[in-house]
């Protein structure tokens, strides 16, 4: 029963968060909630662990400023009386160039007294950086080094430089 209620609470939060309803989103969160986005700090120095409902509101303001449309699907969600884990597949449309970005995110949440006390968001970081920056990170690497983590004893030469 508590599992079903928390499951719905988490779905409500995602709907408010990705729907741009700041008031509804922060109402789902505890005052001292922890928001942790796992992205490389050297690339995203403004992100990292943050506390409080304002952190959620601030992040939503950033999303609203940069993306004209946000859609989300939740293909995986499991919840119990205290925690939940979910995959959220998000589609953003960038305001400045109309580019569409599709990103899966892994989310781990903790709940207490009907409110979210902790959200940890996890991503495939190269995909995230490539899509946000519009830069190809993998191509130059492949040309210089070839595929990573080769089996022992097998030497794969780097790909020829692009002409």
């Amino acid at each position: 029963m508590a599992d079903d209620i928390n499951r719905q609470r988490v779905l409500n939060f995602f709907a408010a968060y990705y729907g741009g309803d700041v008031e509804a989103a922060v109402k789902c969160c505890a005052e001292d909630m922890l928001l942790m986005v796992y992205l490389p700090v050297e690339l995203f120095p403004h992100l990292g662990p943050q506390r409080g409902r304002k952190a959620v509101a601030d992040l939503m303001a950033v999303l609203d400023a940069r993306y004209s449309q946000r859609r989300h699907e939740v293909p995986f969600l499991v919840a119990d009386s205290q925690r939940a884990a979910a995959i959220v597949d998000v589609t953003y449309t960038k305001r400045d160039d109309g580019r569409v970005i599709r990103l899966p995110s892994g989310n781990f949440l903790e709940l207490r007294g009907g409110l979210i006390t902790e959200i940890r968001c996890f991503f495939d970081t190269i995909d995230w950086v490539e899509q946000l920056s519009g830069r190809d990170l993998v191509g130059p690497l492949l040309r210089e080094t070839g595929p990573a983590l080769r089996p022992p004893g097998r030497i794969t030469p780097p790909l020829a430089p692009a002409k």
Partner: protein
């Protein structure tokens, strides 16, 4: 109380990777399993999506050809009736270079009658690439995003 399918699968997976013993994991994978490791497939060819037991076993073999697991810590864990998720911190050794690698990943698994029917893995691919492939002069700089 029955043991959760995740624990059986996790033990068998690590045995397959570290000892190349695949007999234990083979019956724990559904014939129609959906499997995805999100990440750059051009850099890590065993990433990407696979369908079916044979294809997934081949991916596990390819991973076993390349790394050994030293330890892993579950930073977050969520168990459902036939589902499980973890946020994990792995310490690995790359067999080709003998280099230690530390990487964080999240998995989202679904089971059917005790067998893995779906697995999605998100990996901090930047952290992995930085430790395994990026030459120092190609390290990335901050992006305003």
């Amino acid at each position: 109380m029955t043991e959760h399918s995740l624990w059986r699968f996790s033990r068998a997976l690590h045995r397959a990777i570290n000892e190349r013993q695949f007999a234990e994991i083979e019956p724990l994978i559904d014939e129609d399993v959906d499997w995805t490791i999100h990440g750059p497939v051009e850099l890590f060819p065993y990433f990407g999506s696979r369908r079916g037991k044979a294809a997934v076993l081949e991916v596990i073999r390819q991973i076993a050809d390349r790394v050994r697991v030293h330890r892993f810590d579950r930073e977050q864990i969520m168990l459902g009736r036939e589902a499980a998720s973890s946020l994990l911190r792995y310490s690995l050794t790359v067999l080709d270079t003998n280099k230690p690698v530390r990487v964080r990943l999240a998995h989202f698994a679904q089971f059917r009658e005790g067998r893995l029917s779906s697995m999605r893995i998100l990996i901090d691919s930047y952290e992995l690439a930085e430790q395994t492939v990026y030459p120092p002069h190609m390290r990335m700089v901050a992006v305003s995003a």
